[in-house]
């Protein structure tokens, strides 16, 4: 089952305009410098540049007469800039890209009209929003009287929800990203996928018909879907038999090329699936997911902690271990001091002392913290643990922490019903809520917030959640009485993720859109996943 848009889903505005604009800007910049140019492009820049201007366009621009001039171009494209700055901004928690986001929003509003409804949450979201408003005021008049093409805009700061970004992804596109790393919408499939000795760069978008049908699917359905597809394809090939010459001619000239193309894509994605399966079973993926779900639901914390410890002791993967530690910390509102110390010690022993700095980074970002004394009954617990064996102490801790003040995530999770109550198996083939992107275990917090606010058209009634998110000062709504907005445009929603979004979140919102007749447009400073998040925090010995 793929996700076709509902027949009544609103049409998207013409976004190819943005691409043309960026390309024209690049060409303009290059033409500012007369003469022939040798262009040195950093490898990291190639992918984003390729999305707006391919080599043939650049060649045309660069034709000139005088040799021996070398220029490094200073790119002014938001996308490029974001790619370059992502890492740094994560590290310092500084907001260097906020201005860029504000300018991007300003550009969008000049192209597609004003946004009648604005919502946002998080510190960066508010800062970007205010800067954007300033820009609009400075140049007012330009958007006045324009008919809005996009009815809602939602700005969401990544800080608000790190949990979702830290989870293992299980929808196809997310898995491909986790496994192979999607860069600017394209992915390098290695020889293990292409089943020849060359790597292949594949553009993953709606043009790829096979991919488009499975990108939002839970991985467990993908294999079945692909094999069904393969059978259909075979059947179409088989139609050749018994064709007369004319039909055959028709078949070859009209259908064969499409079939061959589909065939190629199909075998690529089957290869990717195999490769993913191999990797995921090797690392005891099921165990890992089980632990994650336990952390999200908040049961068997002691067991999960031991699992993480074992994970570290066995040197399974520095990034994965770190991710689990962070997930534990956020869901539990910080680690209890004993675990905080021992997990860090274990980690340093396994992966080297430079990670002392990694922990410092994580603490600053609020991803890995120690519970403040009084948060739990640590003192009592440590006394008790002296009297009884380790195992018993663990059980007692669990009991105590259930009595103690619940962490914010738990409270939010309960308020927003993030852990769906499941009677029997969650049918992943027929998802009933956004939780399907995490195998039915958890509704992404970020997406739930967006859903709730859109439903209420404000933050009304969500005060408690906002307070728990520590965002009381950073949640805002701005509605203009805009009669001009068509009902069509009011079902278009631009979601802006500041600090990155994951493919799982995109899939979840697409599902929501299908259920409610919305259509979501995504703008993000980066597509992220747990590994990228952790790598940005990790100290690397040069």
């Amino acid at each position: 089952m793929a996700f076709p848009h509902r027949p009544d889903a609103p049409e998207l505005p013409d976004f190819s305009m943005l691409k043309r604009l960026a390309r024209d800007q690049l060409i303009y910049l290059l033409e500012q410098l007369p003469g022939k140019k040798d262009l040195f492009i950093e490898a990291d820049l190639m992918s984003p540049l390729d999305r707006i201007a391919n080599v043939s366009i650049l060649k045309i621009v660069l034709l000139g007469q005088t040799p021996h001039q070398e220029y490094a171009i200073h790119c002014h494209f938001m996308h490029v800039r974001w790619c370059l700055r992502k890492r740094e901004s994560m590290e310092e928690g500084d907001q260097r890209w906020i201005n860029t986001v504000a300018q991007a929003l300003h550009l969008l509003s000049t192209l597609y009209g004003p946004f009648p409804n604005c919502y946002g949450i998080g510190r960066c979201a508010k800062m970007a929003y205010e800067l954007w408003r300033n820009l609009e005021e400075e140049e007012d008049g330009e958007t006045k009287g324009r008919r809005p093409e996009i009815g809602h805009i939602f700005l969401l700061d990544r800080d608000v929800d790190f949990v979702t970004a830290l989870c293992s992804q299980v929808v196809y596109e997310g898995l491909v990203d986790d496994t192979f790393r999607i860069k600017c919408g394209s992915v390098d499939f290695g020889p293990e996928v292409t089943s020849c000795d060359k790597s292949l760069k594949v553009l993953l978008n709606a043009e790829d018909k096979v991919f488009n049908e499975i990108r939002n699917e839970h991985f467990s359905n993908v294999f079945g879907f692909l094999s069904q597809k393969a059978r259909n394809l075979q059947a179409q090939y088989d139609r050749r038999r018994g064709m007369d010459i004319k039909q055959m001619k028709n078949f070859v000239s009209q259908e064969l090329k499409g079939l061959k193309q589909e065939h190629r894509l199909l075998s690529l994605h089957i290869g990717a699936c195999e490769s993913i399966m191999k990797k995921k079973t090797k690392q005891d993926f099921q165990e890992l997911i089980k632990t994650e779900h336990a952390l999200l639901e908040g049961f068997n914390i002691r067991e999960s902690t031991s699992y993480i410890e074992e994970h570290i002791d066995r040197q399974v993967s520095p990034i994965e271990s770190l991710r689990l530690m962070c997930l534990l910390s956020i869901t539990e509102n910080g680690l209890i001091p004993k675990d905080y110390r021992s997990l860090k010690t274990q980690y340093l022993q396994s992966y080297g002392p430079e990670h002392l700095l990694t922990f410092s980074n994580l603490r600053r970002a609020g991803l890995l913290t120690e519970q403040a004394p009084g948060d739990t009954l640590t003192a009592v617990e440590s006394k008790v643990s002296k009297l009884v064996t380790d195992k018993a102490a663990g059980k007692i801790t669990d009991a105590f922490s259930s009595l103690a003040k619940r962490s914010n995530f738990r409270a939010i999770s309960k308020k927003l019903n993030l852990i769906p109550r499941v009677d029997g198996e969650y049918d992943l083939k027929v998802p009933r809520d956004m939780a399907y992107v995490f195998s039915g275990a958890y509704v992404p917090l970020s997406c739930r917030i967006i859903e709730q606010v859109l439903e209420r058209r404000s933050w009304q009634g969500l005060d408690e959640v906002v307070r728990l998110l520590n965002c009381s000062d950073f949640a805002f709504t701005d509605m203009t009485k805009e009669d001009k907005a068509s009902s069509e445009s009011l079902r278009l929603i631009l979601v802006v993720f500041l600090g990155g979004c994951t493919f799982s979140e995109i899939s979840a919102l697409r599902f929501l859109g299908r259920e409610k007749g919305y259509r979501f447009i995504f703008l993000t400073t980066a597509v992220t996943n747990s590994a990228r998040l952790m790598e940005a925090m990790s100290e690397v010995k040069a």
């Binding site: 500084d94 906020i98 504000a102 002791d313 066995r314 110390r341 080297g352 002392p353 700095l357």
Partner: protein, 795 residues
């Protein structure tokens, strides 16, 4: 348009000027003259494309004056000229701007293709040139400036690399010298006047002859210029002697005029202007529409319509007759169009009016005549008449105006400080504010700030009153101008009106108000701008002040830290020191211990400093961890010395593993004890290492050393991973009951796994085993499980 004249020589810009402006030009001349006397004789005068007056002096200095006689700047055409003097100079126009070419006393040429971006180019020598060339000119071809010169019967083309002799194709024989040469406005055509009274006309590339003419006058002409003929596209050259003017072209006959006074010719886009002391004439091809209408006894529709309208005003019925005549031929539309077009080419408002009236009259009898052309012509003529007024003195022709565009015309008005007229034109034409009124107001403001006799407050207030919040006005530009005039205080006052804080920053920096600039940059939210200011401040202030400034600006501080992390690590340390940020200092030294230091002593010392800092920061965990690392580092060093191999920089875990892999089990145990490695980790570690070595004997011994803290399933798993089923089975029997089934399945003993699962009566285990039952071999087992299940359900 402006005209400058000097005692003997006269020169002019690309556009001729109204005679009526001469008097005002003379005003500026009067200002200029004393300067010239001081600076030495002037060889040539000319206007740049930006309407600046360029005066080329004999000593090679070029003085640049503004339109109002204000001295702007000066530059030199090279040191060589000082000695040799300038014999002759030309000012020419290229697509890059305006250029100057000079001929020195040593008969060498030097040119600059753009005086705005001065690059002198000394042209190569002309071989055997002993005296000045009889005539020469600057040529522009393929975006490169050349010099064409005539020496006796020879022509030479100079480019920056070489001097080449050229011959015009089809030149009549008997030429012993060229007296004049003229290049067309577009540099496409060239005309040569020889001492035989013969005129050769061809392309400037000298590849093609267009036509020739013999005027039989051997006296050297005073001037020769091309006359563009936009309508017929034919070529014509105007040659002037003292009292005679001759127009020649591709025809056997020439047209001759008598000149009453000394005159000067200026070639223009659509004709030639002829200036004399008392007159200003424009020689041009008669436009088609005008010819049709005003030709004697013309029966063209436009002529008839004009006639009809005149009769109509006289209330004569002839009007109807004329009109009928046009209508019968179905030419009324054409007639109206002709009248509109002809009106555009008229200079007298009366004549313009009567032609437009005729057009309007004709329009009444047409059903659907689009009004645009009529309306636009009325507007254009109104603007043209306004600027042609002798107070303004810009006598543009209609075609010139169209070529120039309204924007450029406005610029020229602004340059002449004719702000009110410019604004009236903008308002009349309803130009958008940003392009029109506000732009002109901004220019006015820039002029206003130069009035030094008015106080800062008054100027600022006056400007703000006029400009208000007009969109498109940049207060920072005006402020920049004020600063340029040395009025810093006024500039700061004006900046306060600037709504975009980002725009204020560059100027504030320039005015050395860096701290203010910093807060404005932060206000703007543009981090690039903040960086710019920071780097500026860093150079400007001493270190202490700079840090103090940062302290009050958290955002700037955080950005600067970021910068230091990549560029200046030492500064980063100082910053942390200043803030007593011991935690970050500790981190800094940790990084130094592996990134900056190489020797082991240095590394340990860095770690010691880090540990001390962590203690100060009350981060005991980090301090202890650092001390452990110091111990480990020393130990690794010793291991390397004693055992050889690579130990430095391994983690504790990897150090122990390396020891085991190297067979140093005792050392490994010692290390584990010293660093209090937990039992669980040690077991995992040993298990993995021994399996890697495939030392099954040692592994078995190890497994029996005491009860495994990690159970025995990992032993099974790791043996299977190494494909050693035999060893795996040994451990499977020792796996505890909870994981027994899993272990048995791993070693492939499905039957026994089934037995255990049935014994446990565990549903999950049963299904797990069942899922491992494959085909025929395990058929019996599967049945057994099914039976057990059924039995369980019965109970």
């Amino acid at each position: 348009m402006p005209l400058a004249s000097l005692l003997v020589s006269t020169s002019d810009g690309p556009w001729g000027s109204g005679l009526d402006r001469v008097s005002s030009s003379e005003d500026s001349l009067r200002n200029l003259s004393p300067l010239q006397w001081k600076s030495g004789p002037v060889v040539s005068l000319g206007w740049s494309a930006e309407e600046e007056l360029l005066c080329v002096q004999e000593d090679g200095a070029v003085l640049v004056y503004g339109l109002h006689g204000d001295f702007r700047r000066h530059f030199s055409m090279g040191n060589e000229v000082l000695q040799n003097r300038v014999l002759d100079a030309r000012i020419f126009h290229t697509e890059f701007g305006s250029g100057v070419a000079i001929l020195t006393g040593a008969h060498r040429f030097t040119l600059s293709a753009n005086v705005g971006d001065l690059k002198l180019r000394r042209m190569p020598e002309v071989p055997g040139l002993q005296s000045a060339p009889s005539c020469w000119t600057a040529l522009c071809q393929d975006r490169v400036a050349h010099i064409l010169l005539a020496v006796g019967p020879d022509l030479y083309l100079l480019d920056h690399a070489a001097c080449s002799a050229v011959t015009p194709p089809g030149l009549a024989p008997g030429v012993s010298s060229f007296l004049q040469m003229a290049v067309s406005f577009t540099y496409r055509h060239l005309a040569l006047f020889t001492d035989t009274g013969y005129i050769w006309m061809g392309t400037a590339s000298l590849k093609e002859k267009l036509c020739e003419f013999n005027c039989n006058i051997r006296a050297p002409p005073k001037q020769m210029v091309w006359c563009s003929r936009p309508r017929s596209k034919e070529r014509a050259v105007v040659v002037a002697w003292e009292r005679r003017l001759m127009v020649v072209g591709d025809a056997p006959e020439s047209i001759q005029f008598v000149l009453d006074e000394d005159s000067y010719l200026v070639p223009e886009l659509d004709g030639v202007r002829i200036f004399s002391h008392s007159t200003h004439e424009f020689l041009h091809e008669v436009p088609a529409a005008s010819e049709e209408i005003f030709k004697i006894a013309s029966m063209a529709p436009g002529a008839l319509l004009l006639e009809a309208q005149k009769e109509y005003e006289k209330e004569s019925q002839k009007a109807d007759e004329y009109l009928r005549e046009i209508q019968e031929l179905g030419q009324l539309t054409q007639a109206v169009q002709q009248c509109i077009e002809a009106a555009g080419h008229e200079h007298q408002p009366d004549m313009q009016k009567s032609l437009l009236r005729a057009a309007s009259f004709g329009k009444c009898f047409l059903d659907r005549f689009p009004p645009d052309s009529f309306v636009h012509m009325c507007q254009d003529l109104r603007v043209l008449n306004a600027v042609r007024d002798y107070h303004i003195g810009i006598p543009l022709t209609y075609s010139q105006y169209k070529q120039l565009t309204i924007q450029v015309l406005l610029d020229r008005l602004v340059l002449r400080r004719l702000y009110p007229l410019a604004i009236q034109i903008c308002e009349y034409l309803r130009l958008p504010e940003v392009q029109g009124v506000s732009r002109i107001l901004a220019h006015w403001a820039c002029y206003k700030v130069q009035q030094k006799d008015v106080s800062d407050e008054d100027v600022a207030r006056a400007i703000n009153q006029k400009l208000g919040d007009t969109p498109g006005v940049s207060y920072s530009d005006i402020a920049a101008r004020a600063y340029g005039c040395g009025r810093t205080e006024l500039a700061i006052k004006l900046l306060e009106y600037e709504p975009r804080s980002g725009e204020q920053v560059p100027l504030l920096l320039k005015m050395k108000r860096s701290k203010l600039a910093l807060s404005k940059a932060i206000e703007s939210g543009d981090t690039d701008l903040v960086f710019t200011v920071l780097l500026h401040l860093k150079n400007e202030l001493n270190r202490g002040d700079f840090f103090m400034t940062l302290r009050n600006q958290p955002m700037a501080l955080s950005l600067y830290r970021q910068f230091c992390k990549h560029q200046e690590l030492e500064t980063l340390k100082d910053l942390y020191n200043q803030d007593d940020n011991h935690q970050e200092l500790g981190s800094f030294h940790i990084r130094a211990s592996y990134a900056a230091e190489e020797r082991i002593e240095g590394r340990v010392a860095a770690l010691q400093t880090a540990a001390d800092a962590f203690y100060k920061a009350k981060n005991e965990f980090a301090a202890k961890a650092t001390e452990d690392q110091m111990r480990l580092l020393r130990l690794q060093r010793r291991l390397e010395d004693e055992l050889g191999g690579q130990f430095l920089d391994l983690s504790l875990h990897d150090t122990v593993t390396t020891l085991i892999l190297g067979g140093h089990n005792k050392r490994a145990e010692q290390l584990a004890r010293d660093f209090r490695i937990p039992d669980k980790r040690l077991w995992w570690l040993k298990l993995t290492a021994l399996a890697d070595l495939e030392d099954w004997e040692e592994l078995e011994k190890f497994s029996k050393s005491k009860k495994s803290p990690i159970g025995y399933l990992p032993f099974v798993e790791i043996c299977m991973k190494q494909h050693n089923k035999y060893e795996a089975k040994k451990y499977a029997s020792r796996v505890g009951p909870e994981q027994k089934v899993k272990a048995l399945l791993l070693v492939g003993d499905v039957a026994q796994a089934a037995d255990v699962a049935i014994e446990h009566r565990n549903e999950a285990e049963l299904s797990l085993v069942l899922s491992h039952c494959t085909g025929a071999t395990d058929g019996a087992t599967a049945d057994k499980i099914q039976r057990a299940r059924a039995q369980a359900q019965k109970k």
